[in-house]
Amino acid sequence: MASQEVLREEPSRGSFINDPRVRGIFYQAVVVVLLAVSVWWIVQNVIDNLTRLHIASGFGFLKGRAGFDISDSAIAYTSDSTYGRAIVVGFINTIIVAVAGIVTATLIGFIVGIGRLSRNWLIRKICTVYVEIFRNIPPLLVIFFWYSGVLSVLPAPRDSINLPFGSFLNQRGFYFPRAVWGDGSWLIPVALIVGIAMAWFVARMARQRQMATGQQFPVFWTSVALIVGLPLLAYVLSGFPLSFDFPKQSTFNLTGGFQVKPEFLSLYLALSCYTAAFIAEIVRAGIVGVSKGQTEAAGALGLRPGSILRLVVVPQAMRIVIPPLTSQYLNLTKNSSLAIAIGYPDLTATAGTVLNQTGQAVEGVLIMMVVYLALSLVTSAIMNVVNARMALVER
């Protein structure tokens, strides 16, 4: 300590060139200048070459008519829409598969991760085998496994497998009845929102009461009653406005109903299974990372094993789990670009098609890079907020 303070207070003696601070600034300035020069050179080189090769450039092409169709679109899109809209369609598809994958991967990951620590030999071994298989296979192969190995060997539409509730499974995907909302059905979502709000309020009241008096309140069942019961009541009151559109056999395919295409299914299942193996290991590490004394102390207080896990172990494990979980979420989002191998119209696929139809490769790749970067930064930001809330608050 003492020597450092001496160094800091001692003004530089001798030559100006030998001053470490001046040298430091000099080298940093050199690096910045070099970086700026190389970036300028790259940009200038691209512009020069595009002009020399008579290749059109700029982002004006985004307003042009796309002319091609996209199989899966969450927003209105036809071949008359613009190239820009086609890219947005792909972007939304990427988000859909990433969010669905993240939710499922987290669920499977937690179950398998906790399962690996189970006292039951069979559960423990099954979970270990799961992790070792999926963690050691490249994600692209997992996608092909689901696409070519599982979904494409299903029967043709004519011989679809009948599932309960008028659903069908065939090589063109999974079909289930689509809900058709009639007049007055707006009441149902309103009731649902009111139900959730009330459930949240009840839970808060119950916690305050438990803090004050020690008496418990059946929060879970009350919440279920509110969240399920209120919309049901609204449904009955508004005169049963819900009907279903069932998938039916037609010349080529099943028509009507709602179709989940095999491209989406295989990508979603593959990303979920693959990432879940990593999440399972993170969860296991998190739980093992909680000192055994915590479990024993909780047991000594008379908590049951379930409560120990829920109230003592998991909250502490979460602190260890969340930071590496973030990078798994980012990996899953970025791996979704492997969709191109099986023809799911994600951002890479649609932007790639636009790139090829217009020939504007530099702009196309730039758009993709910026969008993926933004998506990853947003995911990181959300996870950082969660992490900050979970972190140990020292009093």
């Binding site: 494409s152 099986i342 023809g343 790139l355």
Partner: protein, 342 residues
């Protein structure tokens, strides 16, 4: 340390200067000793590797013809298989010298992509193929409403498909893949009902399916697909060499010069044949183009004339058995017509 920094700056400056100068395509090709030719990833009749790994097909042979014109040796070609999506970038960036990959000539590709198409080596049109066994009773593309259609992404095919179904007020479900093999596999597995691409391609693909006899190509042709080789813009000499190689193939057929008789034809009494084969005294036709004067002899020796190339790869001498149709010479009622070599 400062010396290192100066060294880096110096290297950067050198890099800047190096990028400024650029040689012509002919010089680069001659320097490396072969032509880099962009072909498809495997389309029977146009460009596909045979069981020995040699590329066969009209598009592959066209590159051999250019190599014969430049080097006098049709084997001085290296092939780069390209997906539909990669092809234009590969040509623009200089990775390939010619793009000879069943590519449709359109105005957008000529003007906005920095390419120059040299001509139409194959007049094609887009068609549909279905599995007649699974879909009996379908005998027209107008009955395809509601079908799932397999198509390769980033092609004119994809755009024509959208236009055709829209114009006829029909619905369809696009199943889009980037690579030809993926589209073939999906169609063969039954992921889609209909396969659409250029009709010649459909005939070629049909041969590779599990049971070719079950599949029929529907009669409708929904678009014009003039397929031809393309080169980069801004190098007129190279453009002329490739363009006139194509014309030489046609002129050779028109004059009856074949692989078998090309050496005898050199002594032909016809002044036109003598001129084309570079036997005229003090001729400058070849050297003005930037190649040797016996370039047409070399081309025909390497791949034959256009008719021979067609028959061997897609016509009567091939498993595809496609009729000459509109690809016949203009003298025989087709569209293939070349300006005179004089």
């Amino acid at each position: 340390m400062k010396h290192i920094a100066i060294g880096i700056l110096g290297a950067g400056a050198l890099g800047l200067m190096a990028s400024a100068a650029s040689a012509t395509t002919l010089d680069t090709v001659k320097a490396k000793g072969f032509i880099q030719c962009g072909v498809s990833t495997g389309l029977a009749g146009f460009s596909a590797p045979d069981d020995k790994g040699d590329w066969q097909g009209i598009d592959a042979d066209f590159c051999r013809a250019v190599a014969a014109a430049v080097f006098g040796d049709g084997t001085k070609v290296k092939f780069t298989p390209l997906s539909a999506k990669e092809r234009f970038t590969a040509l623009q960036s200089g990775e390939v010298d010619i793009l000879s990959r069943n590519t449709t000539w359109t105005i957008n590709r000529d003007t906005a992509l920095g390419l120059n198409f040299v001509g139409t080596t194959y007049y094609d049109g887009q068609g549909f193929m279905i599995n007649a066994k699974k879909l009996p009773g379908v005998n027209s593309a107008l009955q395809l409403s509601g079908a799932a259609v397999c198509v390769q992404s980033g092609t004119t095919t994809e755009l024509n498909l959208a236009d055709y179904f829209k114009a006829n007020k029909m619905e369809y479900n696009p199943v889009v893949f980037e690579k030809l093999e993926e589209v073939n596999a999906a169609y063969d597995a039954g992921r889609c009902d209909v396969y659409t691409t250029d009709q010649s391609g459909l005939y070629g693909i049909r041969l590779t399916l599990g049971s070719p006899a079950d599949h029929v190509v529907l009669p409708e042709i929904i678009s014009k697909e003039p397929l031809g080789p393309a080169v980069r813009q801004g190098d007129d000499q190279w453009y002329h060499i490739v363009k006139w190689t194509y014309f030489a193939l046609l002129d050779a057929e028109e004059l009856g010069i074949t692989k078998a008789n090309v050496d005898e034809m050199k002594n032909s009494p016809s002044p036109e044949i003598k001129r084309v084969l570079g036997q005229e005294a003090d001729t400058k036709i070849g050297t003005d183009l930037g190649v040797s004067n016996d370039w047409v002899v070399n081309i025909v020796k390497a791949v034959g004339n256009y008719g021979e190339m067609f028959d061997r790869n897609v016509g009567s001498g091939s498993p595809l058995k496609i009729a000459r149709g509109i690809n016949a010479l203009w003298t025989k009622g087709g569209l293939q017509y070349a300006p005179p070599i004089r």
